[in-house]
């Protein structure tokens, strides 16, 4: 296990392996999202209470799950970088923040667009809505802190502390609908306790998996780019560049514009 972590933690190994995996994950992501959209928009019925607006749920709920999942992964990765000083973990944490912020933003906007026709209001200071908004501010604070330091080690350390402390907000979001009986409806999904019909459950689960994989795709793309930028003076990147220049397909660097 430790051997594996160190092997995969080496930027060169990561760059090579992720390059091979990426097209497959991207393909699976596209397939899942297309199937999910078909089921969600065409094949599933309108809800008897929410009517056609129930279709917003197929992007709202997967985005909300991602917003929390990505935060936990970012905090865990930042902690690993902080404790064991693994560069790749710092990069994963840093590039996850804008992706997580994007999903949090989508969650808030789609929730608002659902809330207006269904609750009669764009926004309510409900426990879940408020804690999700705090999540967005935590992501933005993390991003701001990252860019506040010239030195990358220092930036990674300072922002890691914020990410770890902020993680306490995630269980608050998750349990908010049970702890405070406010506007947002309680969860209707869980092992052996789902209360939604299979025709609506399937598009939700497929979209959720598609969004998870989409996060992986964007994460791999950005991490690879970040690895190249940070390691540009290392021998393996130089070799990679020489190999690319050697190939007539690439030709001159200017063509890569």
């Amino acid at each position: 296990m430790w051997l594996w972590i160190h092997k995969f933690g080496s930027p060169k190994y990561f760059y090579n392996v992720s390059g091979k995996i990426l097209p497959w994950v991207a393909g699976a992501t596209a397939l899942l999202i297309v199937i999910g959209l078909y089921l969600g928009l065409f094949a599933s019925p309108a809800d008897y209470q929410q009517r056609e607006t129930v279709r917003i749920m197929y992007i709202h709920v997967p985005s909300a799950w991602n917003s929390m999942f990505i935060y936990l992964l970012m905090a865990a990765s930042a902690a690993i970088g902080l404790i064991w000083n693994i560069k790749l973990a710092d990069i994963v944490a840093a590039v996850s923040a804008p992706i997580g912020a994007s999903f949090t933003f989508i969650t808030l906007v789609t929730g608002s667009l659902w809330g207006k026709p269904m609750w009669g209001t764009w926004w309510e200071w409900d426990a879940r809505l408020t804690s999700e908004l705090i999540l967005l501010f935590l992501y933005l604070g993390y991003i701001a802190l990252q860019s506040a330091f010239e030195d990358r080690r220092l930036a990674a350390r300072a922002s890691a502390v914020l990410a770890i402390v902020g993680a306490v907000n995630v269980p608050i979001i998750y349990y908010s609908v049970q702890w405070w009986n406010t506007l947002h409806q309680p969860q209707s999904l869980g092992v052996g306790m789902s209360t939604i019909h299979p025709s609506m459950l399937w598009p939700l689960l497929i979209m959720a998996l598609g969004f998870k994989l989409l996060y992986v795709v964007i994460l791999l793309m950005r991490t690879r780019a970040e690895v190249l930028e940070r390691e540009r003076n290392n021998a393996w990147v130089q070799e990679l560049a020489q190999a690319l220049v050697g190939k007539s397909v690439i030709g001159s660097a200017n063509e890569y514009r």
Partner: protein, 56 residues
């Protein structure tokens, strides 16, 4: 269900398509920016490599 009905979304078109539209824009932007970053990084190391080669 015909196409007009589908886009009409029983009167909730603005909300449903608005939600899908915002999601599409934000997620596409994520993919496009990630791609740009990768290309920029590759371009930079390629240019550096060519400079080194022409020096040799």
């Amino acid at each position: 269900m015909n196409i007009a009905e589908f886009f009409h979304m029983d009167g909730y078109a603005l909300y449903v398509w608005g939600a899908y539209g915002v999601t599409l824009v934000v997620l596409s932007l994520n993919v496009i920016l990630a791609r740009q970053q990768q290309r920029k990084a590759l371009r930079a190391i390629l240019r550096a490599a060519q400079r080194n080669r022409s020096l040799v």
